[in-house]
């Protein structure tokens, strides 16, 4: 399945939800915020947020800044 993550097209196998995606990318869910097709997904909805071909996902986190 093709999904665009942070602007890059990626091919994934056996990915069904945002939870699966974060697991595959080895990103602890509590350290990021996820936008799916420009809609923010709340952490308690990561499992129910299903991914389909062509989805646009943004995975954001806090970094140092002024």
């Amino acid at each position: 399945m093709n999904i665009t993550v942070n602007g890059s097209n990626k091919v994934f196998q056996d990915i069904f939800s945002v939870t699966d995606l974060l697991k595959t990318l080895q990103l602890p869910p509590e350290t990021v915020v996820v936008e799916l097709n420009t809609i923010i997904i709340q952490p308690d909805s990561y499992h129910s947020a299903k991914l389909v071909e062509g989805d646009q996902v943004e995975i954001i986190r806090f970094v140092g800044g002024g």
Partner: protein
């Protein structure tokens, strides 16, 4: 004590967390500054090289996080970042930053005002970064900004408070706290802003790129406290005319008269 949106701050120094050489230096510098509020930015995770989570280094103490909208070039981008920030932090504090020109990083006044109006309606505690424009400060506070953050000089330039005459008017007129943000390059700059009556200052580059960021953070803490104390104590007026510090009465009437 400084109060912003109902939250009391013992420290009038806010720190940015950018450009530190490591997370541990950053955490030590923030601790040395004794500040209670720190700014953070939001960026895409680099999927090829996910860095350490900055929040882990900052979790040892309870800081108030002030996420910024740096990178936003207009109101819509800032609003999108604001909502991401709230989802990530779980809090509504926001440093609104709209900078269309990467060369000057100067804030767009029109887009900043538009975004402030929208984000206040959306329930955010908005602290807008703004040029030192007294009229804009009034408009932002009327729009519901919890504080205003006029720049001393452009971000990261260490030029100090070049906008002092405008900031003096902003302070005189403001009904919300005034936080001088950007360009503060030395503890003396921070002290100067506080002596003028600023409610707080936000410092990042001057501390993070110092030879010893931890010592510099402590120096800024002292400077902010000294400046605030001087403001409260009441500063003398500037004068072009000399005014003797020693008494005029009982002066000797002629040169070397005491030898006669």
């Amino acid at each position: 004590m400084l109060t912003i949106a109902g939250t009391e701050f013992k420290s009038r120094l806010f720190l940015g967390t950018g450009k530190f050489s490591s997370s541990s230096v950053m955490a030590d510098a923030i601790a040395a500054s004794e500040c209670q509020m720190v700014t953070v930015a939001l960026r895409r995770v680099n999927l090829d090289n996910p860095e350490d989570d900055i929040m882990k280094a900052l979790s040892v103490r309870e800081y108030i996080f002030l996420p910024n909208t740096s990178g936003a070039r207009n109101a819509n981008e800032a609003i999108r970042l604001a909502h991401l920030a709230r989802a990530a932090s779980g809090s509504s504090w926001l440093k609104l930053e709209v900078t269309p020109d990467p060369r000057t990083l100067l804030p767009d006044p029109v887009e900043t005002l538009l975004a402030t109006e929208k984000l206040v309606k959306d329930g955010f505690i908005v602290l807008p970064y703004m040029n030192a424009d007294p009229i804009l400060a009034l408009k932002l506070q009327d729009a519901g900004a919890a504080a205003v953050m006029p720049l001393g000089s452009p971000i990261g330039t260490n030029q100090g408070v070049l906008t002092d005459s405008m900031i003096a008017i902003i302070i005189e007129q403001a009904r919300v706290p005034v936080v001088v943000d950007a360009g503060i390059g030395a503890p003396s700059h921070a002290a100067y802003a506080m002596e003028m009556g600023a409610d707080a200052v936000l410092v990042n580059t001057a501390i993070s790129i110092a030879g010893d960021p931890v010592a510099m953070a402590a120096a800024f803490a002292k400077a902010v406290e000294a400046g605030r104390t001087a403001f409260v104590a009441g500063m003398g007026q500037r004068s072009k005319q000399a005014s003797a510090s020693s008494p005029a009465d009982g002066k000797l009437s002629s040169d070397l008269g005491f030898l006669a």
